[in-house]
C-alpha cells in the first residue's frame, strides 16, 4: 500500500472494514519473488521417496576411496567400526538385552535417503558440503554395503537409493497418530 493510498480515507476505511484483511493480495508484501533456478543451491531437501535426489551415482568400492580421501575414519573408525563420532555399522536387536540398544544405520534408520541427505549437508564435519554428488552417492553405497544392506557391486543413484529397504523400515509409529 503506497503512502498516497494511505492518505485516501475511503480506501483506508474499506481496508479497516475487512475488505482487505482476509485477502492475501492486501497483506504486507516485502518479500522478493524468487524462481527455482535461483534457490537451487539451497533446495537440498530429499524425500524418502527420492524426491530431490540429484543426478549421479556411485558404488561401494568408489565409496571406500571417498572414505579414505576425506579421512572419515578419524571420527567413524576403520570401515565405519566406530570412533569419537560413533560407528556406521553394526547394531543389535532393538528389544530385549541388558543394555540400551545403539540406534545405528543398519538396525534403526528407516530410510537410506537419510544417509545420503545427512552426508551431503553435514559431512565431512570440517568441510561440509564439499563432496560432489557422485562422492555422496558412493560413500552412501559404501556404508550400506558395510551393513550388508546392499551388494558389493550395487550402484546407488536417484533411482536405486529410494528403493533400498532398510531393515527397520517398519519400526516407527506416530506417537499421536490422530494428529500427525
Amino acid at each position: 500500500m503506497s503512502m498516497r493510498r494511505a492518505r485516501n480515507a475511503p480506501f483506508a476505511l474499506m481496508l479497516v472494514l475487512g475488505l482487505g484483511a482476509a485477502n492475501a493480495a492486501d497483506a504486507p508484501r516485502f518479500g522478493q519473488p524468487i524462481g527455482p533456478a535461483d534457490l537451487a543451491a539451497w533446495d537440498i531437501s530429499i524425500g524418502p521417496d527420492g524426491a530431490g535426489l540429484p543426478p549421479g551415482g556411485g558404488t561401494p568400492a568408489q565409496g571406500a576411496e571417498v572414505y579414505a580421501k576425506y579421512a572419515c575414519a578419524l571420527c567413524h573408525g576403520d570401515k565405519g567400526a566406530g570412533g569419537p563420532s560413533g560407528p556406521l555399522v553394526g547394531g543389535g536387536p532393538l528389544s530385549g538385552g541388558d543394555r540400551p540398544p545403539a540406534k545405528l544405520i543398519g538396525n534403526y534408520w528407516p530410510y537410506a535417503t537419510t544417509v545420503f541427505d545427512f552426508t551431503r549437508r553435514a559431512m565431512p564435519w570440517q568441510q561440509p558440503k564439499t563432496l560432489t554428488d557422485d562422492e555422496v552417492y558412493a560413500v552412501t553405497a559404501y556404508i550400506l554395503a558395510l551393513n550388508k544392506i546392499i551388494g558389493e557391486n550395487d550402484v546407488m543413484n536417484a533411482q536405486t537409493l529410494p528403493k533400498v529397504k532398510m531393515p527397520n523400515r517398519d519400526g516407527f509409529v506416530s506417537k499421536y497418530p490422530e494428529k500427525y
Binding site: P28, R29, F30, G31, I44, S85, P93, S95, R99, Y108
Partner: protein
C-alpha cells in the same frame, strides 16, 4: 487461633497442610508468619535467629564506583552463574550448554544462560547477507532480508524451549548425583519477538496440497526438521528478538523458528529456509534422533509437544540446608500443551501433597514459578513436585513413566541421552544434616 497484627490483617496459623511440615501457600501472600504452637517447641527460631553483628560502612560507600559499562555484565561476584559445556573445545561432535536453574529465580532465562544444543558450534552469521526463503508448495516463492522482516507486524510472547532430551539423566538405573543444571538444564524460557509465520504465508500463498513444512538452519549441518503445517498457521514465529535484544548468536542470530511448546530441536536456529511439502522429509533428527525406542522394539516418531513437567530448584542437590526452620520450596513448571493449572508439592515422597502458590502471570507454554512454604523439622524428607496443566495432563510418577517406557538398563554418564521427553516426577532427598541428594522415590 488466628491473630491480628498491628496492620489489622490476619496472620495465618502455619499448621502443616501436608506431611513433613508443608505449610499453607497463603503464608506467601505477605501476611505475618506465625508458626502455630511453634514458639513453645522452638521450631520457629530460624525466623528470628541470633542477634546481628553491628553494621559497618563498606568501602563501596566511601568513594566512586567504576564507569557504567556500555553493555552491563553480571556482578564479578556471580562468576559461578554460567552454563556448563559438554564440548568447550568444539571437537567434531555436538555441544550442549545447560542453564543453571539452581542459581536463578523467576521465570525468564537471561540470554547468556539460555540452554543450547548445537551440532556445529555457535554459528556466526552476517545479518546483512542472511536470507530467509519460503518455497515449495506455495503460490509464489519469496526471499526475505532481515530488514524486510522488520516491516511486518510483530508479536511478542513468553515461551519456554526445551530439548527433547532434557532430564534424560533422570532416566537411569541409579539416581545420578548431579545438580539441577546437569539434570534439567536443557530448558529455558524467554520473551521472543518476531513475525508470525502465518503472516508470511499469507504473502506467499499456500498450495492446498501442503500438509507439512521443512525448516532448515544455515549452520554446519544445515539442520532440518519436518513440522505439521497446522503449527505454522497456529503460533509459529520467525523470532528476531530474545528478551528485548536481537537473538543471541548461540540461539540462532539473526533469526530462529519458534514453535511454542514443541520439542526444542524443531525450533530451528539460524533459520534460512522453509519449504512447504506434502509429507515429512524423514531427516536424521526425526528418524535416528528424537524418536523414542519402546520396550517392544518399535519407536515412537513425531513426538512434538513437550509434556507437562515440573522440578524443584530450591532446595536441590548441591543447595544444602543449614538448620531446621522455615524454607521456601520453589521450582519451575511448564507444559507444551498450554498453561499450568496447578502444582502440588510433597515433602514425604508423595504420600501427601499440598498445592503450591503459582507466581503470576501463568502463561501458556511458558515457565511458571511455584512456591511452597516449608517448616523443616530437621528430619529426613523427600521433596517432589507434580504439575497439572489446564488441559488436565498430570505429570506422571516415576513408576508410571517406567511402566510405559521400560525400566532403565544402565546408569550412563550424566550428559548421555538415553531417553527423550522424560517428564516424570523427580525426587530430592534431604537427610538429617540438610544435605540434598537426588533419590528415587
Amino acid at each position: 487461633m488466628n491473630k491480628r497484627n498491628k496492620q489489622g490483617t490476619q496472620s495465618l496459623p502455619l499448621e502443616p497442610v501436608a506431611g513433613n511440615g508443608l505449610l499453607d501457600r497463603r503464608a506467601l501472600l505477605g501476611r505475618g508468619i506465625v508458626f502455630a504452637g511453634a514458639m513453645s517447641s522452638g521450631v520457629g527460631t530460624a525466623l528470628t535467629g541470633a542477634a546481628a553483628e553491628p553494621l559497618e560502612v563498606g568501602p563501596w560507600s566511601l568513594g566512586p564506583g567504576v564507569p557504567v559499562p556500555p553493555y552491563g555484565q553480571p556482578s564479578k561476584f556471580e562468576q559461578k552463574v554460567v552454563r556448563t559445556l559438554t564440548n568447550p573445545k568444539l571437537e567434531p561432535r555436538g555441544s550442549a550448554a545447560r542453564t543453571p536453574h539452581h542459581l536463578l529465580n523467576g521465570t525468564i532465562t537471561p540470554n547468556g544462560l539460555h540452554f543450547v544444543i548445537a551440532r556445529g558450534g555457535q554459528t556466526e552469521i552476517d545479518p546483512d547477507k542472511h536470507r530467509l526463503v519460503i518455497h515449495g508448495l506455495v503460490k509464489q516463492p519469496m526471499v526475505y532480508t532481515l530488514d524486510a522482516l522488520h516491516r511486518y507486524p510483530m508479536v511478542s510472547r513468553i515461551s519456554f524451549v526445551e530439548c527433547g532430551g532434557n532430564s534424560a539423566p533422570v532416566y537411569s538405573k541409579e539416581p545420578i548425583q548431579a545438580d539441577v543444571q546437569a539434570l534439567h538444564g536443557l530448558c529455558s524460557c524467554a520473551e521472543w519477538t518476531g513475525v508470525k509465520l502465518s503472516t508470511l504465508l499469507e504473502e506467499t500463498g499456500v498450495d492446498p496440497k501442503a500438509k507439512w513444512f521443512i525448516a532448515e538452519g544455515a549452520d554446519l549441518p544445515t539442520m532440518n526438521r519436518s513440522i505439521p503445517l497446522a503449527k505454522a498457521m497456529d503460533d509459529a514465529m520467525i523470532a528476531l528478538y530474545q528478551n528485548g535484544e536481537r537473538i543471541n548468536p548461540s540461539n540462532g542470530y539473526p533469526m530462529r523458528l519458534l514453535l511454542p511448546g514443541y520439542e526444542g530441536n524443531m525450533n530451528v536456529k539460524w533459520l534460512r529456509r522453509i519449504k512447504l511439502v506434502e509429507a515429512p522429509v524423514m531427516a536424521i533428527n526425526e528418524t535416528k534422533q528424537y524418536t523414542i525406542l519402546r520396550p517392544d522394539g518399535k519407536a515412537w516418531q513425531f513426538f512434538f509437544p513437550q509434556e507437562v513437567k515440573s522440578f524443584i530448584t530450591h532446595p536441590s542437590p548441591g543447595l544444602n540446608m543449614k538448620a531446621p526452620g522455615y524454607y521456601e520450596i520453589s521450582g519451575l513448571a511448564y507444559s507444551g500443551n498450554g498453561p499450568i493449572g496447578k502444582v502440588e508439592v510433597s515433602a514425604d515422597g508423595g504420600k501427601s501433597w499440598a498445592p503450591a502458590a503459582l507466581q503470576a502471570p501463568v502463561l501458556s507454554k511458558a515457565f511458571t514459578r511455584f512456591r511452597m512454604p516449608w517448616n523443616w523439622d530437621g528430619g529426613p524428607a523427600t521433596l517432589q513436585s507434580r504439575a497439572t496443566d489446564e488441559a488436565g495432563n498430570v505429570q506422571p510418577t516415576r513408576a508410571a513413566f517406567l511402566a510405559e517406557r521400560g525400566e532403565p538398563k544402565a546408569t550412563p554418564p550424566v550428559i548421555a541421552f538415553t531417553m527423550e521427553h522424560f517428564n516424570a516426577i523427580a525426587s530430592w532427598g534431604v537427610d538429617g544434616k540438610g544435605e540434598v541428594r537426588h533419590v528415587y522415590a
